[in-house]
């Protein structure tokens, strides 16, 4: 993956910037279209449980996935479809989990955004906000024990999640251990219906960095260029041994909390303000303005992505659901220690 480390300008910088941007845009687009598909399946009653999408947060999310390398660790959250794809998740894997295919990584035992492959550094979130951060810390600690250097762990949280004790304990833990943790906060102005003013009282969450003794970064999350640059820098810093990096992005959730929520509580003024810009549109326009892509190309990419999504969904839908009678109903890895209840 291409990294954009501002402090290390290279001769090929412009083209590498362009390449990174183009690649990021296409992941964003794919993420958006996949999310939209899940939302429409939800409305059609074809999804079990809720659907949570990342509309408006794709630029930030993709910047994370794209700044990470193979061997790095990624613990995404509910709005990270784009970042998951950029990190290496296939559309089919996402589709399988949302549609409850037994061939998905969670085999129907867990679903929707709760998916991952821990052994590949891709963690499946539990619901409790903040709870993934110390797990990433532990993986990074393990690598230190094993003498593996140069890998980074990135994880995401909403501004609401910063109010959890878990967030605090884990960020402090990473700081004390000087772990290569990149913690990305998407301040999308709301936690479900709760506005940021009821969530914290500091000017910006980036003001927390000093209190942990970690580097802080803040950025406009609607601007892909800024996302790639700042997240890329944070990842590079962590990789360079500069300890945990706290990245705080300003943006707006351009959807409901979940697809069941019409987000009627979001003020129109806020939607029309700069924070309410759609990062995908902004990025597309930038591409055209920079002459990095034609409008028609964008349309072609969209069609391509749509087709990819439709194929994966169709495939996952044909796949078998889990069968409770062949399910082993055993929570333990040590099967012989499992108890049988009749």
């Amino acid at each position: 993956m291409i990294q954009m480390v501002a402090s290390r300008p290279a001769t090929g910088e412009v083209s590498s910037c362009r390449d990174a941007y183009l690649s990021a845009y296409r992941w964003m687009l794919l993420g958006r279209i996949l999310d939209e598909k899940f939302a429409s399946l939800y409305r059609a009653g074809k999804i079990h449980g809720g659907v949570f999408i990342g509309r408006g947060q794709e630029a930030l999310s993709v910047a994370i996935g794209q700044s990470l390398r193979k061997g790095d660790i990624f613990a995404p959250l509910i709005r990270d479809q784009a970042g998951r794809l950029a990190f290496g998740e296939s559309v089919l894997e996402a589709a399988r989990t949302y549609l409850g295919s037994v061939l998905g990584p969670m085999r129907g035992r867990d679903g929707n955004v709760h998916r991952g492959r821990p052994k590949e550094g891709y963690l499946p979130m539990i619901s409790h906000l903040g709870a993934m951060i110390p797990v990433v810390n532990g993986m990074l600690l393990a690598r230190r024990f094993k003498g593996i250097a140069g890998t980074v762990g990135a994880t995401c949280l909403g501004e609401g999640g910063t109010s959890t004790g878990a967030f605090h304990e884990a960020l402090n833990q990473a700081a004390v251990e000087k772990l290569p943790l990149v913690l990305i906060i998407a301040n999308n102005q709301f936690a479900y219906s709760t506005p940021s003013s009821r969530q914290f009282a500091c000017r910006s969450l980036v003001d927390r960095a000093a209190g942990y003794g970690v580097e802080g970064h803040s950025l406009d999350g609607t601007d892909l260029t800024a996302c790639l640059k700042v997240v890329g820098e944070a990842v590079a810093n962590a990789r360079d041994g500069r300890g945990p990096q706290l990245v705080v992005a300003r943006l707006l959730r351009l959807c409901g909390h979940g697809e069941h929520d019409d987000a009627g509580y979001v003020d129109t003024k806020l939607k029309q303000s700069p924070v309410g810009r759609d990062c995908l549109k902004v990025a597309g326009e930038y591409l055209v303005r920079q002459n990095w892509a034609e409008r028609e190309t964008l349309v072609a990419w969209r069609n391509e992505a749509t087709q990819k999504v439709e194929e994966a969904i169709a495939k996952a839908q044909r796949e078998p659901a889990p069968d409770p009678y062949t399910e082993n109903w055993c929570a333990l890895a040590s099967k012989h220690l499992s108890e049988v209840y009749e």
Binding site: M106, G108, R109, A191, P322, E327, W329, C330, S338, E339
Partner: protein, 321 residues
């Protein structure tokens, strides 16, 4: 008029707010939004300043409720899901539950736990935590199974001078309806005979009461009369009513939606076995969820928790013994 279980919870809170100035509600999104399940819909508007959005800080939410209770308030805490109460666990069991015993100052807080499984809920939005809380001295644990109980027990929870864990079942929120709100209620700590019978006692609580009733219905067509006891609260647990029922039927099946190790069903059977051994004509049996996290997929979930289908099998087996 038709009132759902969820609406009963909303109306009980509304009445508590209206009648008692010491009551306030604190929880994530409970304010203008009316809560994730709309259990506080319009209450912030009707009672300005008394229905307050909390940050995502369950530990601090419960801690603040305890402090407010010390000062004489009667807070209701809404957990967005029972499962998130793990984060407030320490305050609940160590601060709230121990306060009165340590200091003789009562701690009248109500913690609402939207509990139990729903289709597609998955491991972290489906848990039944009643047994965890019942284990700790100093807590009352309510598990209403009907619209009427949802209403009257929540009012009672707010009135009680002790911390009450109010386990409301999400599966019942919309499914269950009643024609009107109750005007009187059984006292806390009394179980209810949900259906009379003389062949077998099924003890259940919360959503499982309805599965048990369906089993009674089914077995009635075969001439077997099942008595269904709805525990209503699991701490205190009304051993007398359970024993009286077992005295009538001689057979006990206890059903719970929680995990199988320990829990309500073990407690009920232990009590009956030790205090009412002679009443039993057959070994007491129990049925719980499976010993795995609650699965996401409906196919798995339907088999993970007890349902009329699995209960009837257990009941038939027990009737043959």
């Amino acid at each position: 008029m038709s009132i759902t279980y969820l609406e009963a919870i909303r109306l009980a809170q509304k009445r508590a707010l209206a009648e008692d100035p010491r009551v306030f509600i604190y929880g994530q999104d409970v304010g203008a939004f009316g809560g994730a399940f709309k259990a506080t819909k319009n209450l912030a508007q009707e009672f300005p300043g008394r229905v307050i959005d909390a940050p995502i800080s369950e530990d601090a939410m419960v801690g603040a409720a305890i402090g407010a209770a010390i000062e004489g308030m009667r807070p209701i805490i809404e957990m967005q899901f029972a499962d998130f109460s793990t984060v407030g666990f320490n305050q609940i069991i160590n601060q709230a539950a121990a306060l009165h015993w340590r200091t003789q100052v009562p701690c009248p807080i109500t913690i609402r736990l939207p509990s139990g499984g729903t289709s597609g809920g998955g491991p972290f939005h489906s848990q039944s935590m009643e047994a965890i809380y019942a284990h700790y001295p100093g807590l009352i644990v309510m598990t209403p199974a009907t619209v009427e109980d949802a209403y009257s027990m929540l009012l009672e929870a707010v009135a009680i001078d002790d911390p009450v864990i109010f386990c409301e079942h999400k599966y019942l929120y919309y499914h269950l309806k009643a024609d009107q709100l109750p005007t009187e209620a059984m006292p806390t700590g009394k179980a209810r005979i949900a259906r009379s019978g003389r062949d077998l006692t099924i003890v259940a609580y919360s959503a499982m009461v309805h599965e048990a009733l369906a089993v009674a219905e089914e077995l009635a067509t075969e001439g077997t009369e099942v008595e269904v006891v709805d525990l209503r609260s699991i701490k205190p647990l009304d051993t007398d009513t359970v024993m009286a029922s077992v005295a009538r039927t001689g057979r006990l099946l206890c059903v719970g939606e929680a995990f199988p190790w320990g829990g309500v069903t073990a407690e009920v059977i232990a009590r009956v076995a030790s205090e009412g051994f002679g009443l039993l004509d057959a070994p007491p049996q129990r049925l719980n969820a499976k010993d795995t996290p609650v699965p996401y997929h409906p196919n798995l979930w339907a088999v993970h928790r007890p349902t009329a289908r699995s209960i009837v099998v257990a009941a038939r087996k027990l009737l043959r013994q």
